[in-house]
């Protein structure tokens, strides 16, 4: 048995002329380009609102940074497990594909779970999409002047819109991966010669991770 090293981006399927990418992959890149503009709309609106108004709640005063930093790490881990799944099937390793793909699904589901926990905690403390709920713990802090009353409504709506749309994308990714895992990965339908589905869903998953990296900085740390 001999081992040969070949170009890692060698297409697993007949490539379209020009970009040398098969049509599924090309389609995913075009879709991701449109997704960049979608999230740019959200982030751009946030930046304009955030820096167009006066005082804004300081980072860490409303949102739980340690748990979100942990969630960010979780999503990065799931991105690594996805690329390991890709590498495994590119080498023809079915067992590795099953293991890493499953870990990716678990990581994504855990991210969504932590985000739901964070939302529940925030709503319980009084931070809602319309701002601050009357009579809540957060309303008392606003009344004491610890948080700016004028911009809490904008803060709530922009926070839940951006993180909510991202969470929706993560949830769609998890559902897609569960479908692929049951229909394609477990029956061993991906091979070293054709693993297009793994690569294409992987591109989507890494994009979702990439967007979260930007959102984490802009929404939670700045």
């Amino acid at each position: 048995m001999t081992h040969a090293t070949i170009d890692m981006m060698h297409p697993p399927a007949p490539a379209e002329p020009g970009v040398q990418a098969y049509n599924l992959k090309l389609g995913m890149w075009v879709f991701l380009a449109s997704e960049v503009m979608f999230f740019t709309g959200l982030i751009g609106s946030y930046v304009v609102l955030r820096f167009g108004v006066g005082e804004w709640a300081r980072p860490g005063t409303v949102l739980n940074i340690p748990i979100t930093a942990l969630n960010t790490f979780l999503l990065i881990c799931s991105s690594v497990s996805m690329v390991k799944a890709y590498a495994a099937i590119a080498d023809g390793d079915q067992k590795g594909l099953r293991l890493w793909f499953l870990l990716t699904i678990l990581g994504g589901a855990a991210f969504v779970g932590v985000q739901v926990y964070e939302y529940l905690h925030l709503v319980h403390s009084g931070f809602v999409p319309s701002g601050v709920r009357d009579g809540s713990e957060l309303a008392e802090r606003v009344a004491s002047g610890a948080l700016p009353a004028a911009t809490m409504g904008l803060y709530g709506s922009t926070f839940y819109t951006m993180t909510g749309f991202h969470g929706f994308h993560v949830s769609c990714g998890v559902v897609s991966m569960i479908y692929l895992y049951i229909r394609k990965v477990l029956p061993g339908k991906y091979t070293r010669q054709d693993y297009r589905g793994v690569e294409v869903v992987g591109l989507y998953w890494h994009f979702v991770d990439l967007v979260w990296i930007i959102l984490f900085t802009i929404v939670y740390l700045i």
Partner: protein
Amino acid sequence: METAHRKHPPYLWIWLYLALLTVAEVVLAFELPLSQNMKLILLLVLAVWKAALVAMFFMHLKFERWNLRVLALVPLPLAAIFILAALSEKIW
């Protein structure tokens, strides 16, 4: 029988790199005594750095043909124009 093993980037090292950059972001945001403007710039640099690592190594843009890279990067200047145009109302 011949088996072909593709040469993959060091994914676990990149994972470690991303984890360290995430820790650096949190430390920078809450522990270092820097001005808000300096923190803003450094945090944005770290975020772009992390995003670039994901795009280059996990999405394999570093290893793709130039025209696919162009396709992937085309929305970025458009996004920058969009944000600058929206901010121009505030600036001017």
